[in-house]
Symmetry: D2
């Protein structure tokens, strides 16, 4: 089990200390070994198409990739007999995205976007997660699937 | 055929007037109906993993998506009997990414990253492009495939 | 609305008159405009790996593609004001798979395999479906996402 | 290096002793640590759409998956210091497809179909290959990308 305290530190690390996540405003709001949630507030620099004022596809892909990576990390950490800052650091250094599919279902309009991820394959070397993104009204904007190296 | 002058304007539009591309520094450097090139210079805000100082996967996905979208746009424009600012604007308003697969092959290290796209399916409604990204030394960092709505 | 009678004819057409579906034993068991179900019984000719006696990945991909195609077809038919054998035939002649992602989660072991599909993007030109495959014990074997040309 | 003799045995194993490959007529014709070629002759049982007489998408996916799996296997075998039937058998028992993307570019018409694969990621745990399928006239019918567990 991941200790409550490590949870908070990791969520803060992903949101505050990863420069690109910070640039975009991606915030890890919740995660456990099976699910994760990432949110991002609309701001004008995230616009892809200025005439239609919709989210750039790269923002959507970034949010889905982060949500998937977070649950893949939590999943592998939850399989370890014990945790320490060093063990967590070592484990996360092996984490990387192998591939990511993003399905853009509807134009990215809204004030806030919430990406959620669920583990569908849990392994010691490779994990796979399925993701969804919706806006603050519950309108689905994107779906995705990510394959992650975890060991 | 896309007139040389429209080329320059479109490349400038994608690089300078799309807020997210500008935020990241994505620059459309070349394109025709079959191929496109997008480049991005390294800067610290693009870092995904601060300890390893490598590109965030979302940056890679954004660059590949832009390269694919540009060649899909050029491909559909090249099928039109004539072009005008209005016709181009109408045609681009119908352009959107349906889905995107990104394969992260090697850590994103380098000073400059170049994404190239080639059309593999050319249609009046849907186009498909295959993409690659390498750094200034020619090291391959990512591959991708994008499906685009064009009509 | 798709008339009950057309339902039965279409399910029979897909299962009995498409040679490759018949060769594999793929059977369309249920579908409406939002969901579909396809089933296939284990038989030894479907083995990919003879030592492990598991389903060939191509069988899994075929089942997921059929389930997605069926729900994409039903979705577009349900948007038509009226149906006739000729209208159905015309509509289905425009149906084709644009791309398909298959995630192989666990070894394909079991006596019966059930693939289900749900529409996640419903359009007049392109539809997208998410699929799952499990065996008779409810064990998940694969997931998938398919993009279909429908108009 | 994979000994010439093992080459022939493996190609024969994949073509003749894997029931589903045999059912379809998939033949491994060439491979080394970087590339592979698989061919399949047209026959009526491979038809997906009887009115249009085109290849079922599942056949295409099966051919691409086999081509990718073969080059992933050859790539990992070529990294071993020495080979024996037992070592090869152990190594192949760890081989499985993690995920596969298939892009269907043109209707599958022709007398013979040739699928080729190239390694784009070579690792001790995971390999990634890009595939293409064309007919005997060189017309491209499909593209694909596969991620394989190899260790």
């Amino acid at each position: 089990m991941i200790h409550e305290e490590y949870f908070k530190q990791l969520a803060q690390y992903w949101s505050q200390e990863m420069p690109f996540n910070k640039l975009l405003g991606l915030e890890v709001t919740q995660f456990n070994s099976q699910e994760s949630t990432v949110s991002i507030m609309w701001h004008d620099q995230l616009i892809g198409n200025p005439e239609q004022r919709i989210l750039h596809g790269g923002v959507t892909a970034s949010a889905l990739d982060l949500a998937g990576g977070v649950v893949a990390a939590a999943n592998i950490l939850s399989q370890l007999p014990e945790l320490s800052p060093q063990i967590i650091s070592q484990s996360l250094s092996r984490l990387s995205t192998i591939d990511l599919r993003t399905d853009f279902i509807r134009p990215g309009r809204g004030e806030k976007f919430i990406a959620t991820a669920k583990i569908i394959r849990s392994g010691s070397k490779v994990a796979v997660a399925r993701m969804e993104m919706h806006n603050e009204k519950g309108v689905h904007i994107a779906f995705g699937t990510g394959t992650y190296m975890v060991g």
